[in-house]
């Protein structure tokens, strides 16, 4: 497949396929969004020649809720629910790296049981978020069956997460030094049942969506990102992996239990919208594997407090009683006075849409000095500017849906 190059001008990157042209008088400017299902809560200003996009300028910030600033005034533990609001359909994945950064500054490691519990929830979230992405993608390309199916099946995973944590979406599950809750007694059966169901179901997904000739016509060869350009633009997650870059934060810097469980990272070479859908599809399969392994491990090992000794030793007997009876850790008073030693840490984790990076700086107070978040969608937003030119206007929703752009996360 060749890259469609528009115009004569040499690109600033010096690479093919990223060429844009200056606005001329006979071009039209079209504002897409923010009130439009084809653009979510962002606006893309495009200039078109006929129906070919010549220039695209993403206008973000419609959901900028100032998380970086607010975090500077809030206690360490209160920031977990705050950052979760970036991507509530993927709550555990986006907060786990913040918690990891805190643990690095504190110099503690969570107990193995907590690691497995977090891994379990991360993978449940990943599947739910991928299905969410598929559903929205389906709406964008006019495939309502896909929306209906994936949102119906997503509920299976959301129910599992609810069983484990008590909340449908905003779990606030990882806390510095461990996890908030142990799994209920009947969780393993439910998880295995869900995995069995999904295995069967995924085959049908492939048939109606990925192998469907209509879908393939709309996705093949749209939004191609060659490997070299993908690395240059610094795209992350399924977008990078669909372009042949084998990068996954779970591999590069294994956190939680990812160095103990077995899984593969699917990589495709084509770099188009279809390849991105395939990457997500294959990732769901791998996540199912991880869920099974995590549940097995948790079942085999005795139940103990999923929180670090340092905090657990301080807890009064009442809380130990609560844990024994209900399997949950009483949280706030244990953590509210948490003070971190001065220090700086960085941590990354792999969310469903790509890698998220936290930079945390502490000056020894109960609140952070600075937290810098770079979310996957923020890094992928550059795709609109450099990849969309050259494609038709109707391909824009396809590109948008295929990179699984989630504005609240991009704007923070």
């Amino acid at each position: 497949m060749s890259v469609w190059v528009y115009g004569e001008q040499k690109s600033e990157l010096g690479l093919e396929g990223t060429i844009t042209r200056k606005l001329e008088e006979d071009l039209y400017e079209v504002f897409i969004g923010p009130q439009h299902p084809g653009s979510g809560h962002m606006r893309i200003i495009i200039r078109i020649d006929g129906d070919i996009i010549v220039e695209a300028d993403p206008d973000m910030g419609y959901v900028h809720r100032t998380m970086e600033k607010l975090s500077e005034g809030r206690e360490w533990i209160k920031n977990v629910p705050l950052f979760e609001r970036m991507a509530i359909h993927d709550a555990c994945n986006v907060t786990v790296s913040y918690v990891m950064a805190l643990e690095r500054i504190l110099g503690i490691e969570p107990p193995p049981r907590a690691k497995y519990l977090r891994t379990l929830l991360c993978e449940i979230n990943r599947i739910a978020a991928h299905l969410y992405g598929f559903g929205i993608f389906g709406v964008f390309i006019g495939h309502s069956t896909m929306y209906m199916w994936s949102f119906a099946d997503r509920e299976v995973m959301v129910e599992l997460a609810e069983k484990l944590t008590g909340a449908r979406l905003t779990h606030s599950y990882p806390i510095p030094g461990g996890a908030r809750r142990d799994m209920p007694q009947d969780f393993p059966q439910a998880a295995r049942k869900a995995v069995r169901y999904f295995r069967r179901r995924l085959d049908e997904y492939r048939k109606i969506f990925l192998d469907n000739p209509v879908t393939r016509k709309r996705l093949e060869g749209v939004g191609i990102i060659p490997k070299k350009i993908a690395a240059e633009l610094g795209v992350v997650g399924p977008v990078a992996r669909a372009s042949g870059i084998k990068y996954d934060a779970r591999l590069a810097e294994p956190y939680d239990a990812y160095d103990e469980v077995e899984f593969e990272v699917p990589v495709y070479e084509e770099g188009d919208a279809l390849a991105r859908a395939w990457v997500k599809f294959e990732e769901i399969k791998q996540s199912l594997r991880i869920i099974e392994q995590a549940v097995d491990w948790l079942e085999k090992h005795p139940r103990e407090a999923p929180i670090h000794e340092r905090f657990w030793a301080k807890a009064p007997p009442l809380w130990k009683k609560v844990f024994e009876a209900e399997g949950r850790v009483k949280l706030l008073p244990l953590m509210a006075n948490l003070k971190l030693p001065p220090g700086r840490a960085m941590a990354r984790s792999e969310t469903a849409r790509g890698e998220i990076v936290y930079y945390v700086e502490s000056d020894g107070k109960t609140t952070p000095y600075r937290v810098r978040i770079v979310s996957p969608s923020a890094r992928n937003a550059i795709v609109f500017k450099y990849i969309a030119p050259g494609y038709k206007v109707m391909d824009l929703p396809t590109i948008y849906g295929s990179i699984d752009y989630f504005p609240p996360e991009a704007d923070r």
């Binding site: 009130q35 809560h41 900028h64 809720r65 607010l70 970036m86 929306y147 949102f151 509920e155 905003t170």
Partner: protein
């Protein structure tokens, strides 16, 4: 007079406003259709696709097969001109406020608003953020849904609550009769929400 349909075509000229007024009087007064109007409006609510924040996740789930809010007579629609209800999903930022107001003004009356999530009530977890506005400063809100995020059942409940309100308080028919919402002032934002765009 020659019409554009060829020989014998006719164009009737009249005062449209006057005729509309008389038709309204006939329907609402003599034929007593007010109740029917309320009933019909209550079961054809069309929320507009304006996803303002992360509550949109549950908004999407509300219309998914499991919760199926379409059974209550509401279905999200694309164009603002074809809708009569706005469902604000959570936080409204300063930039988004402009879009909310523009969309609200584009919608034909009678129109209704539901504010979803703690953020839409009083800021929620972002109560002290420098970049958000309260939705009730921009548009008049009929029903609030607490929760962060509210469960899909709560959203469905809010729709039913709104329907009850329309039928009990006869909101839609009164709006048509009097030309405006009697039970609440037509909220005009104090500041122009779009000032950032022009300024």
């Amino acid at each position: 007079m020659e019409g554009n349909g060829g020989n014998g075509g006719r164009v009737y000229v009249g005062n449209l406003d006057k005729s509309a007024k008389r038709a309204k009087q006939l329907v609402m007064g003599k034929l007593r259709m007010g109740k029917a109007v309320d009933w019909a409006t209550a079961f054809s609510l069309w929320p507009v696709h304006l996803t303002t924040s992360c509550c949109g996740c549950e908004f999407a789930a509300t219309w998914s097969p499991r919760f199926d809010a379409e059974q209550h007579g509401a279905l999200p629609w694309v164009g603002a001109r074809q809708t009569n209800m706005i469902l604000i999903e959570g936080t409204v930022t300063k930039k988004m406020a402009c879009a909310v107001r523009v969309t609200w003004e584009q919608m034909p009356s009678p129109k209704f608003a539901i504010a979803m999530g703690a953020c839409a009530i009083d800021g929620g977890i972002f109560y002290n953020s420098y970049n958000i506005v309260r939705p009730w400063e921009i548009i008049p809100v009929d029903v609030y849904i607490p929760g962060c995020p509210p469960r899909p059942e709560a959203v469905a409940r809010a729709i039913i609550e709104l329907q009850r309100k329309i039928r009990k308080q006869r909101v839609a028919s009164k709006w048509i009769e009097e030309g405006w919402r009697p039970d609440r002032e037509y909220v005009k934002p104090k500041e122009d929400p779009c000032s950032w765009w022009r300024g």
